[in-house]
């Protein structure tokens, strides 16, 4: 290996590691090196890196191996990521890079297949001073109609955002890092949802992140993330937007009134059933009912404190907690198409799906794709 290659590759590896906030010791342990000095020697151009070590480092650093092998390729611009309820920004750096990796994978598949990759959502043409809760309600209603989300928006939101508006939606277990994140970059716009959250929470997170995408150029990073970890006003507006979008002011009162008994009261079970129907949390629905002047704040606070209510809600929803897919149907479809059209190998497809080569057929079968039968088939036009 030439000295120049060794040195340049080492510098690149060091830069990426430091950017992820990883120590030499931590990475050396992941590589199963006996000590961190070996990795240090690689980074300083004093030791040749082996091919398998580079392949493993690429995975640890969430980069494609070609990024390291092409020494002239610059690190992608530092795409900003907005986190929701991030409890540990240190840990979040690795998750951020994993998020970026899949955003760029998505983008690469779209490019290879000649499909548009830019997000088709129109950014809001407003200034920060224009926002208040009334304005948020108005924006949510406009988007509800514009996107044709229907009377139960949560049921269609994900599919419409992904299929019609090219918003990249990714799911994976974020652990304690946060509930969700969003980013806009060269790849387009993307939202990351914590797959370990229940369905209604994921729906709310998606709608919340949609607000950030729509207002990406209006609010700065500091407006969203406060230094004292208190919920910022922008975050509260994003919550209000999500509530208004998923529980429309035109639909919720209808359902609420239809369930009132002869005395003009509604049972807790009925409230829970409305929440299930709209695929939102019962707590979010309760507060929405306050906003819509259908319940008093005092009543809601009392109900939410009831152990009995929490238990009914939990039991009622136990079978309603569908787990999130690892990848969206669109992402898997793009990856499958790219492979079927010879644009990526099966090994690369496995990388895109974050599985081993031996699991590709089984994984695709789970999404309704048959690898072997379609790959060779070609049709002759009439």
């Amino acid at each position: 290996m030439s000295e120049n290659f060794k040195l340049k590759l080492g510098q690149k590896l060091k830069l990426v590691r430091e950017k992820l906030g990883l120590t030499l010791e931590k990475v050396a342990a992941k590589l199963e090196f006996e000590n961190y000095q070996t990795l240090s020697a690689i980074e300083n151009g004093l030791r040749n890196i082996k091919a398998e070590e580079l392949a493993r480092l690429s995975k640890i650093y969430f980069r494609d191996i070609t990024f390291f092998l092409n020494l002239d390729e610059e690190e992608e611009t530092n795409d900003l990521v907005f986190w929701r309820e991030c409890k540990n920004m240190g840990q979040a750096k690795e998750k951020e890079q994993e998020f970026r990796k899949y955003c760029y994978n998505y983008y690469e598949l779209e490019k290879k297949l000649g499909l548009p990759y830019q997000c088709k959502l129109n950014p809001l043409d407003l200034k920060a001073d224009d926002f208040d809760y009334g304005k948020i309600e108005e924006i949510a209603e406009q988007n509800l109609n514009l996107m044709q989300l229907g009377s139960r928006p949560a049921c269609s939101l994900r599919k419409i955002l992904e299929e019609k508006y090219n918003l990249k939606i990714l799911y994976y277990d974020l652990g304690n890092c946060g509930s969700a994140a969003s980013s806009v970059g060269n790849f387009g716009a993307a939202v990351l949802i914590n797959s370990s959250e229940p369905l209604w929470r994921r729906n709310f997170d998606l709608a919340h992140e949609l607000f950030h995408i729509l207002t990406w150029k209006i609010f700065r990073h500091d407006d969203v993330h406060t230094k004292d970890n208190e919920k910022s006003l922008v975050e509260k507006w994003a919550d209000a937007f999500a509530a208004s979008l998923l529980m429309p002011a035109t639909e919720i009162p209808k359902e609420f009134k239809a369930r009132l008994d002869q005395e003009g009261k509604i049972s807790l079970v009925d409230v829970i059933s409305i929440a299930k129907e709209f695929e939102v949390s019962t707590v979010a629905l309760m507060w929405r009912l306050v906003t819509l002047s259908l319940l008093s704040r005092n009543t809601v606070e009392k109900v939410l404190a009831l152990h009995e209510f929490v238990e009914i809600d939990r039991v009622e929803r136990i079978n309603h907690n569908k787990t999130a897919p690892d990848f969206s149907e669109k992402y898997v479809s793009l990856a499958f198409q790219a492979h079927a059209k010879d644009l990526i190998s099966k090994g690369k497809l496995a990388e895109f799906l974050n599985i081993t080569i031996g699991d590709v057929s089984k994984k695709l079968a789970g999404y309704g794709y048959c690898l072997e039968e379609i790959s060779d088939a070609k049709l002759t036009p009439a």
């Binding site: 091919a51 390291f68 190998s345 090994g347 031996g358 060779d376």
Partner: protein
């Protein structure tokens, strides 16, 4: 004389699924790219996951581990840019083709069934250093004259894809 083979990860898994792997290891001299060892973990048979431990086979001397130097991989990638094939392979495939390209072991042949990898080989004028699974099985005497294997491993498909790869090469040059 034993054939010198460098099977791709997907071929190793395929040979396990077909039940020919152990015979091929006995009858040919098998080499594997170092990155491929980490890529091949298991295969599935009748809904059962069966592990594959290539590291142990290397340690037992049954197969030979080879290294495709990263610098040479980098040079190869530069060449593939011309054909817009530089992002279609994973680490194991890129390393395997580098091993063949640099002639780390003379007479070594890349046993491959993946179309992008075959097209890369065609563009680099490396048709003679590649071999189909069917050809390997026939050369080893495992597959008899009238026996067939699934189409994805066949010699006919292999030749057809190489021809397609040659068209890419001609168009790009």
């Amino acid at each position: 004389m034993q054939s010198l083979l460098l099977p791709d990860a997907d071929v190793i898994i395929g040979l396990h699924e077909l039940g020919y792997w152990d015979q091929v290891v006995k009858l040919a001299k098998i080499h594997v790219a170092s990155s491929v060892i980490g890529e091949v973990k298991h295969y599935w048979k009748l809904e059962k996951q069966i592990p594959i431990d290539l590291s142990k086979m290397v340690a037992d001397g049954k197969i030979i581990k080879l290294e495709g130097p990263p610098e040479k991989q980098s040079e190869l990638l530069q060449q593939l840019r011309k054909y817009n094939l530089h992002t279609c392979l994973n680490a194991g495939e890129l390393e395997s083709i580098t091993i063949i390209y640099c002639e780390v072991v003379p007479e070594l042949k890349f046993c491959v069934r993946e179309r992008p990898a075959m097209k890369v080989m065609a563009c680099l004028d490396m048709r003679e250093q590649a071999v189909s699974v069917e050809q390997v099985l026939r050369d080893c005497g495992i597959l008899k004259r009238k026996e067939n294997i699934p189409g994805i491993y066949s010699q006919i498909r292999f030749e057809r894809i190489f021809l397609e790869g040659t068209f890419i090469q001609v168009e790009s040059d």
